[in-house]
């Protein structure tokens, strides 16, 4: 990629150090829990020990006797204001506080408001709740059986636990292709429930000003504007009006999709502040965060792949059951209940495909948030990359060779997929070949053969994924009817510095740096002199927020387009200053000069000054612009990962020896930040492949509800990642970029699984479920008679 700006300007392609880091490194970040307001009260939550139980009574007497406990809020309290239920982003409903029954363990039952955090906790201990346990539904397959206990008895006429059926593709043509196939492989695959486990838990401070009637909520949210609108829609009947609601999303310690939903705690704290008239802080502890916040994955997939004997894939069929817990509280675009799962044909030119997904209610917390997976892409990629390997195994072909044979060739882009997407650009073979070259693929295969002869277990796994990010074009993408555009507003100050505000919200992605670099690239103002702000709904333009790798494809594009509007006006001002016609001016970074007379020029700084001191007659003063960018298509980043593992025959432990990640996210704004995204994403991809899982026992008791048992990898478990890249620009994005935040999380798990299966393939193993814990692998070794 060509770099057009100097390091001083730091436009596209410069590894500029992150502008936000000095405050984070020095402990000067400003997170919700750092904020202290005068007279602030504290909230703590009573939670259910049962997964499904009728609430017979709640006795608050003892709690209210504790000095400092001011109020105990129950479902009955909220029911008076009709706030005991709330809508989810998927147009389902979810309890704020129960009046009748609880539907998952750790569900909010009551909230204690007290003068200190400690007293609030004592108050929670003193609230007495009498439960009558009800039959628990944990297994989504059993949930859909006739006669299963109905969980959502609140819904009139609801007689089962089925949420939705969704399908895509040509069923008949796919069936025909399977009937005619020379080879068919099948695999069931479960992607377990996992949690984003962001380092900062969720929380808020709700501050209702009774005099002005204005509600300010400091909230750990990835989508402050959408939250404001939801609040206005939900609480309009109690007098909250959108212009009197201000959502401020301060620094956020990781979101990954888990901070998109509205949690009951936010609503309870807000209601309490409105009633009491004081600011109320609610911050989850780690176990509450792990046990009660929305979850990701929990997909039960059955996939079949049809092919010719020579390895040409002809058709794909996937049937999936999605466990959504007690509510469909995902944050998918409205028309996509299974997110963008239909990317499941992956990087391959597959003529026929059909996919169907059913959603089921179970007695678990709401599931289906897009944990760094851009809407079910992780599940889709895991499945296609697994069955592709199984096909290679069946045909005794090298998995790299099979992939190279079936990749969508680069000449076919833009490519229409069988399930309806238009892939914007790609060169898949180039990425895989680079990964193979960098890791020394043939030598590894030779080493593996030698080790195998000695009884050692070594495996090499490949994953060639295609991502789908940047939701999205307004024709198809909305959340609760709000189109998924995003926005930027840029103001140039008289001295040529700038402030820019965006509708998104960084949670660690580095927007304060990369957005400034986009504007630096377009206007030639040094990125260091461009201040970026997000997250305050009173000041920032409206946008749908940051998740699903959408910030660069949408708000980043808006930033570039707004800058181009400014450049257009700047050109007119320059023409006025240089006394030439605008057509006679040429732009090079940071200045307009007269065509053929480059010594006659005006810098952007001179032009900015003139915009306020000497603007042309008939033109408005000032230099600013707003853009609401509606992307014409999504972007399709891709990559090829190769993983090498060794397996300990004594313990079953899988050790990642090497991991080579070649990514292509189009043109790159800041290579260092992209590298950081890839490193973090790979670690977050490794985690569910080897360690993380939240499961439930038959009574719906959460297993792994603390960091003792929810195994987030540390630096000690994480291998030294190797990264490289190819650059295939997006043809429709203003500066050719694609999203990258989730590529590695999507691509890494199947590479690791494929490596483990590869290490065991000579023993007849074709599939291993995740997480591939030592015990799970050891049981396979034991069964195959190779455990030490």
């Amino acid at each position: 990629m060509k770099i057009d700006t100097t390091p001083e300007v730091s436009g596209m392609g410069h590894s500029m150090k992150r502008k936000e880091d000095p405050r984070f490194i020095r402990g000067k970040g400003n997170y919700v829990d750092d904020i202290q307001l005068p007279g602030m009260l504290y909230m703590d939550i009573v939670r259910s020990p049962f997964a499904h139980a009728k609430i017979k009574s709640i006795n608050t007497e003892k709690a209210l006797k504790i000095p400092g406990v001011l109020a105990v809020i129950t479902g009955e309290t909220l029911a008076k204001y009709n706030l005991h239920w709330m809508p989810t982003l998927m147009s389902d409903t979810q309890m704020v506080l129960p009046v009748e029954k609880v539907v998952y363990q750790s569900q909010e039952v009551a909230a204690v408001i007290a003068t200190s955090r400690y007293i609030a906790a004592d108050g929670v201990d003193a609230v007495e709740v009498d439960y009558e346990p009800l039959p628990v539904v944990v297994d989504p397959f059993k949930a859909l059986e006739p006669g299963a206990t109905v969980i959502r008895t609140d819904k009139k006429d609801k007689k089962d636990n089925h949420i939705f059926h969704w399908e895509v593709g040509d069923r008949a043509a796919t069936e025909k292709a399977f009937a005619e196939a020379e080879v068919v492989v099948k695999q069931d695959c479960y992607i377990p429930r996992i949690h984003v486990a962001s380092i900062e838990t969720c929380g808020c401070i709700a501050d209702f000003d009774r005099v002005n009637g204005k509600l300010t909520v400091y909230m750990t949210t990835q989508a402050p504007h959408a939250i404001r609108t939801v609040f206005a829609l939900v609480a309009g009947h109690v007098g909250l009006s959108e212009e009197r609601i201000r959502i401020i999303s301060p620094d956020i310690g990781g979101g990954f999709g888990g901070k998109v939903p509205v949690y009951p705690g936010y609503v309870i704290a807000t209601a309490a502040s409105v009633v009491i008239g004081k600011p109320i802080k609610w911050i989850e502890d780690r176990m509450e965060n792990l046990q009660a916040d929305s979850f990701a994955r929990d997909y039960w997939m059955k996939a079949e792949l049809a092919a010719k004997k020579d390895g040409t894939i002809t058709a794909l069929r996937i049937k999936t059951l999605a466990d959504h817990g007690c509510a469909d509280a995902a944050a998918n675009p409205s028309k996509f209940p299974a997110g963008l799962f239909s990317i499941c044909t992956g990087s391959y030119d597959i003529k026929h495909a059909f996919a169907e997904v059913d959603g089921a209610y179970t007695n678990k917390p709401p599931g289906g948030v897009a944990y760094r997976c851009s809407f079910r892409v992780t599940e889709a990629v895991h499945m296609i990359e697994r069955v592709t390997d199984i096909l290679a195994q069946q045909l005794k072909m090298d998995p790299a060779e099979l992939r190279l044979k079936n990749f969508i060739p680069k000449e076919k882009f833009p490519y229409q997929s069988a399930l309806g997407w238009e892939y914007d650009s790609g060169d898949y073979a180039r990425a895989l070949k680079l990964a193979m070259e960098r890791i020394g693929y043939p030598a590894l295969r030779k080493e593996q053969a030698e080790k195998r002869a000695r009884g050692e277990l070594m495996g090499i796994g490949i994953s060639s994924f295609t991502e789908i990010v940047g939701a999205g074009p307004s024709k198809h993408f909305d959340i609760l009817g709000i189109k998924m555009f995003d926005s930027a507003e840029i103001r140039i100050h008289p001295t040529g510095k700038a402030i820019a505000r965006f509708g998104t919200k960084s949670q660690g992605q580095g927007h304060e740096t990369t957005y400034a670099q986009i504007i630096a690239e377009e206007l030639g103002i040094p990125a260091s002199a461009v201040q970026i702000e997000e997250g305050d709904t009173d000041t920032a333009p409206y946008g749908l927020g940051t998740y699903a790798s959408r910030s660069t494809p949408t708000a980043g594009a808006a930033g570039a387009m707004a800058a181009r509007k400014i450049r257009e006006k700047a050109k007119k001002i320059a023409a006025h200053l240089l006394e030439v016609s605008p057509e006679d001016l040429v732009w090079e970074t940071g200045k307009f000069s007269v065509r053929g007379a480059p010594q006659r020029s005006k810098t952007i700084q001179e032009i900015a000054f003139a915009a306020y001191t000497n603007h042309p007659q008939g033109m408005e003063a000032g230099l600013e612009a707003v853009c609401y960018y509606d992307p014409p298509n999504l972007t399709f980043p891709f990559g090829s990962y190769i993983c090498v593992v060794d397996i300990d025959r004594g313990t079953g432990q899988v050790k990642i020896r090497r991991f080579m990640a070649v990514d292509d996210c189009g043109n790159i704004i800041n290579p260092m930040i992209v590298d950081g995204q890839i490193h973090g994403g790979l670690s977050m991809g490794m985690a569910p492949a080897l360690m993380e899982e939240i499961s439930y026992d038959e009574n719906g008791n959460v297993q792994g509800g603390s960091f003792m048992d929810y195994l987030v990898p540390t630096a000690m478990e994480t291998p030294s990642w190797e990264t490289d890249k190819t650059v295939t620009p997006s043809p429709h994005h203003p500066f050719g970029a694609k999203g990258v935040g989730e590529s590695a999380t999507v691509g890494a798990p199947p590479a690791i699984v494929n490596a483990v299966v590869d290490a065991l393939s000579h023993l007849g193993v074709t599939h291993v479920e995740i997480p591939m814990t030592p015990e799970r692998v050891w049981r396979i070794l034991k069964e195959k008679g190779v455990a030490e």
Binding site: D44, R117, Y118, A120, A121, D122, D125, D285, R286, M287, G650, T651, Q653, M691, Q703, G704, M708, D709, L711, P713, T714, M716, E717, T773, P774, E775, W778, R779, A787, E788
Partner: protein, 290 residues
Amino acid sequence: MIPAAFDYHAPTSLSEAVALLSKHGDTAKVLSGGQSLLPLLKLRLGQAGHLIDIGRIPGLEYIKEEGGMLRIGGRTRESALERSEVVRTRYPILLDTAQVIADPLVRNMATVGGNLAHGDPGNDHPATMLVLGAQVVATGPKAERVIPIDGFFVGLFTTALQPDEIVTEIRIPAPPARSGGAYVKFERKVGDYATAAAAAFVTLGASGLVERAGIALTNAGPKPVRSTAAEKLLTGRRPDAAALGEAARAAGQSATPSADRRGAADYKKEMAGVLALRALTKAVQRAGGR
């Protein structure tokens, strides 16, 4: 993660601390490094009316070889073991152990006495102390007494300590010539309690036969497990692969682990054997046997 209320005491002498313990009896808990106690209180899994912080009492942190013994002060931090020259050169098994306890932040606070006194079979020091034949010195209202390690662990979270006694010293006999020990731990991630872990200590005779063997397991039952069956199998034998294998299998058989998120009982039992073999092999190497 908010503890219930408690009274906090910070005595500056041992006698004052013991007097406070005597006065408050069962409602009092000794706060040493606090790395097990505070999480219990914060999770409200345990409650204490009175915390007796022994952090201000002088003379409880030391590591010294004296009179044929390694003497470790009861409040000695795990991180001090990691940095100790005498531990590194003369008692590598102790370094093995200290290095795999939780994480560096915890080890800066956690103490050797606390690790033993907590009576948690998942703690790492007990197995090591069992194979080393250590002694625990406890100070109570009357005097101090020496408790042999074999009688120290009574049951789950229960030791031979009286409620008014404080661990003031741990004594480890200096290793004879041709001795070697090792502690090997298998954990799900760094900082976790062991899925399985084994301590082994061997002394070889001049002819190369095993004179004395100690084998013990972490997290393999309600209290730390010393496998005398495995020790007997090895004593008097040449420590070759066959003998070590037999002993390790016997050690595995002595494990009675319970299932949890670390694994099913049968898996943990097998892992106890695998880890015992790894610890024994390393111990024999260190003893100069191979």
